[in-house]
Amino acid sequence: MGNKQTIFTAQQLDAYQDCTYFTRKEILRLFYRYRDLAPQLVPLDYTNHPDVKLPYELIGSMPELKDNPFRQRIAEVFSEDGEGNMTLDDFLDMFSVLSEMAPRDLKAYYAFKIYDFNDDDFICKSDLEKTLNKLTRNELTEDEVRMVCEKVIDEADLDNDGRLSLEDFQHMIVRAPDFLSTFHIRI
């Protein structure tokens, strides 16, 4: 079907297919979703690798993301510049990791990055507090937040440094049966 399209070269499409969990059709569909966010910025011809970045405000206004309390972190983690402004590559990568075909370790890696608010490669207490507040819309009291953070670190921190490293996180994810289905955005 995609033989007649002129957006990507055949090699580009093949590369995308190999590097993401999408088929040709889906990649093209995602391209059109990307373009719909800002038709005047995104050209219809990607064969010469144009350098187009959509600002975070447009990405965050997508219906799949606009109500998610973690949308800013998601955009920051997957964007090249770390600010949430995404190229098409970042866009495809983001939805590829969040699709249902992505394996658990890959998702756990990115989930860890999303919850690591201060980007120090560890989920410390302040990161946990921010996560909790986003999860419950600030409705937990200070005491409750503190208790939950203590409990989480108690349960998951295996190397006893008071914060969660990637291994701790991945080890905990192994025991969560529905992580694969919750860390999933359908697009």
């Binding site: 109500d67 370790d105 409705e139 939950v148 998951a156 990637l166 291994e167 025991r175 359908r186």
Partner: protein, 704 residues
């Protein structure tokens, strides 16, 4: 210092970030998270294929691994290019396979979406879950499960018993053979009302199942022992009746166990409800696919409730653990005492029911409103007992001071015991009257092997009792709704006084409501053999109940202050339901095999027991089938089968324990490795500090 060490730890990917100055906001993904695991997985920067975890194997296994690498797209493309230079042939077969699996997955997804559109009350359940928490939602999920179960049972019964009865009533031959002449009195059964019937009598008949309702498809007495035998088609109504009843019970058992299996699997997979609960809730409970503002808010509220439940349990546990031994002794003796008190209350209730049923039987036959009241006396007493005793037990539970989830379980167990055994008492009383206290050769029972004076058609009578119980249950629920809950809300809202504020809006009591459902379902199961349309009536009753309970929940109740854990609760509800099912099965087995069916009505008029129909038909089967079935039932087959299943169970138990030990061992190892790492890091810091001081002193010496 620490940063450098981290960089050394994390392997070579970090080289890419050295280009930018530390001040720039770097790409988060290029900055690899430092981890020992990655050290093992990506040892050298040789672009070689790294065996990461792959979910599916494929012919081009190496090529697939790119997608599992957590790198930005540009890097992945570069890796891919290098790999392509190494691997000359790219197979197309694999991409077709992948496309196929993708298409199948998408189809399955679309099918699930369409199904969820048709799933009953999906939106309502979501709203309830968001506003009142998982515990209340589990009650409504349970109710929905029962509605669907009853509906399918009704289809089953209608298809195999009701519709053939209607169709073949004019076609088939029904035989009423009198084996001996002395039994004419036994066959006298005339439920049709004579002469002019007053208008209000119709209403009374509908409510108590007598009169025009008695001799209808509603009750056992109307069905005939029609046997249709055509050249190529035969249908034996009595046989169908028995088999449908048995299959109905088996079907319900399978549904309950299947549902228990899914609930148990979740409970086991999470390794028990107490391990890693908080971390899993915080990190994996958020559904990223949730769209819309309302859904998101609901989810947030849900999570809030869940965390509150867990925290409260913790608090209570801490309190309980902090008691001195003297306080503990006092507490335990108080608990034992209260337990006896609760038991005493329950036994008192049983005695009242026994008395009421006997009295009602004595007074049966009086007409008018008084007759109605005497008829309904057992139901009234049962409902009153089921209302009063749990209230008193609640107050007892306050003195007992168990943890919240234990309190709930204890209250539920007591209420289960009360409700289901009171039903048993009612059935026992009926039985003792039908079979003259079990001795079928005395007094009234001598002629027909059952008490034909009181009960010319005893199956219909039991069916009527169950029908009355079901109706009365529904009426009580609606009456409580209208007369207690709505007024309470109105009073509390509009009359601000201390009393009103103390009473407050009510909470939705999940365990007691669930018990009401289990009780209703048990009544239906018990009565299904004698009142084939009871599942249909029950479906309608439960649907009405759903909407009534939803209305009262949203208008009259406040969110629970005593939060209720929902993870293990669905499993527990199904256990209780199973207990009710086994009670009904006992009744079924006893009625099928022991009691003489009524001679004046029903499809089993002249069989010694209902099960003998099956035995008779069995002997008409061809020899081969008969021999085969005999063999399956014989010891030569069942004992080896039993031994084999024991062996298989032992094997699985051993496997399970070995895995458990393995997991514990690995977890301990992980902890040790973590400590090792910390120790080594400290050593490195120490060494580099010493090295620095050495350099310092060496430098000073040189400069001197």
């Amino acid at each position: 210092m620490a940063m450098e060490i981290q960089r050394q730890d994390s392997g070579v990917w970090d080289d890419s970030e050295d280009n930018g100055s530390p001040g720039d906001r770097q790409s988060l993904r290029l900055r690899r998270v430092s981890s020992q695991v990655t050290q093992k997985n990506y040892p050298q920067f040789s672009w070689s294929v790294t065996p990461t975890e792959t979910d599916r194997e494929g012919p081009r296994g190496s090529q697939r691994d790119i997608r599992t690498l957590p790198m930005p797209m540009a890097l992945k493309r570069a890796v891919r290019q290098v790999q392509q230079m190494q691997v000359p042939v790219v197979s197309r077969m694999d991409s077709w396979k992948r496309k196929k699996t993708k298409v199948l997955l998408k189809l399955k997804d679309d099918a699930m979406e369409i199904l969820s559109f048709f799933t009953l009350w999906n939106k309502s359940l979501q709203m309830i879950g968001g506003n009142f928490g998982g515990g209340v939602q589990s009650y409504f999920l349970f109710l929905r499960f029962l509605v669907i179960l009853n509906f399918i049972s009704f289809l089953l019964i209608a298809g195999f018993v009701l519709i053939p009865s209607i169709v073949f009533s004019s076609v088939g031959t029904s035989f009423l053979v009198l084996n001996s002449t002395g039994l004419e009195n036994c066959t006298k059964y005339d439920p049709n009302p004579q002469g002019l019937v007053a208008f209000y009598k119709y209403l009374l008949d509908v409510v108590s199942g007598t009169g025009f309702m008695e001799y209808s498809y509603l009750f056992y007495g109307y069905y005939n022992n029609t046997v249709v035998e055509d050249s190529d088609f035969s249908y034996n109504i009595p046989l169908a009746y028995v088999f449908t009843a048995v299959f109905y019970f088996a079907f319900c058992l399978i549904c309950i166990i299947a549902r228990m299996g899914t609930a148990a699997r979740v409970a086991v997979a999470t390794g028990g409800s107490t391990v890693s609960n908080y971390s899993i809730t915080v990190f994996t409970a958020w559904n990223y696919g949730c769209l819309g503002d309302t859904a998101t808010t609901l989810q947030q509220k849900n999570l809030h409730y869940q965390l509150q439940v867990d925290l409260e349990e913790e608090r209570i546990k801490k309190q309980a653990a902090a008691l001195t031994s003297k306080e503990k002794v006092v507490l335990y003796s108080v608990r034992v005492l209260m337990g006896f008190l609760a038991l005493g209350l329950i036994i008192a209730a049983f005695y009242c029911i026994f008395l009421a049923t006997n009295f009602s039987q004595q007074k049966s036959g009086t007409s008018g409103i008084q007759g109605l009241i005497w008829d309904y006396l057992p139901s009234i007493v049962i409902t009153a007992a089921n209302f009063m005793v749990p209230l008193l037990c609640d107050q007892i539970a306050v003195i007992e001071r168990y943890a919240p989830s234990t309190t709930v379980i204890v209250a539920l167990l007591r209420a289960v015991f009360l409700r289901l055994v009171s039903l048993g008492v009612l059935l026992f009383t009926l039985w003792s009257q039908i079979t003259c206290d079990g001795d079928t050769n005395t007094g009234d029972c001598k002629l027909c092997q059952y008490n034909h004076n009181l009960y010319p058609c005893w199956e219909t009578r039991i069916g009527q009792e169950m029908y009355k119980l079901t109706l009365f249950d529904l009426l009580t629920n609606i009456a409580v709704l209208l007369l207690v809950e709505f007024p309470r809300r109105i009073v509390v809202d509009h009359w601000s006084s201390k009393l009103a504020r103390w009473v407050g809006r009510q909470e939705f009591e999940v365990p007691l409501n669930v018990l009401g459902l289990v009780y209703g379902q048990t009544v239906v199961w018990t009565g299904a053999l004698f009142c084939p349309l009871l599942p249909a009536i029950n479906t309608i009753k439960f649907i009405i109940l759903f909407y009534c309970k939803k209305a009262t929940l949203f208008h009259n109740c406040r969110p629970a202050q005593k939060t209720f854990r929902s993870t293990t609760s669905s499993f527990f509800f199904l256990m209780v339901l199973l207990f009710g099912w086994s009670l009904a099965t006992l009744v079924l087995i006893y009625s099928l095999s022991e009691i003489q069916p009524s001679l004046g009505c029903g499809p089993f008029s002249f069989f010694p027991s209902m099960w003998s129909v099956v035995a008779n038909t069995f002997y008409k089967l061809p020899t081969v089938t008969r021999e085969f079935l005999f063999f399956i039932g014989s010891q030569a087959f069942s004992i080896p089968l039993f031994v084999l299943s024991c062996v298989v169970m032992c094997y699985f138990a051993a496997l399970f324990s070995v895995h458990g030990k393995n997991v514990a061992l690995l977890r301990a190892q992980l902890k040790l490795e973590g400590r090792d790492k910390q120790f080594l890091v400290k050593q490195i810091v120490e060494l580099s500090r010493r090295l620095q001081t050495l350099h310092h002193s060496a430098g000073e010496e040189e400069s001197i």
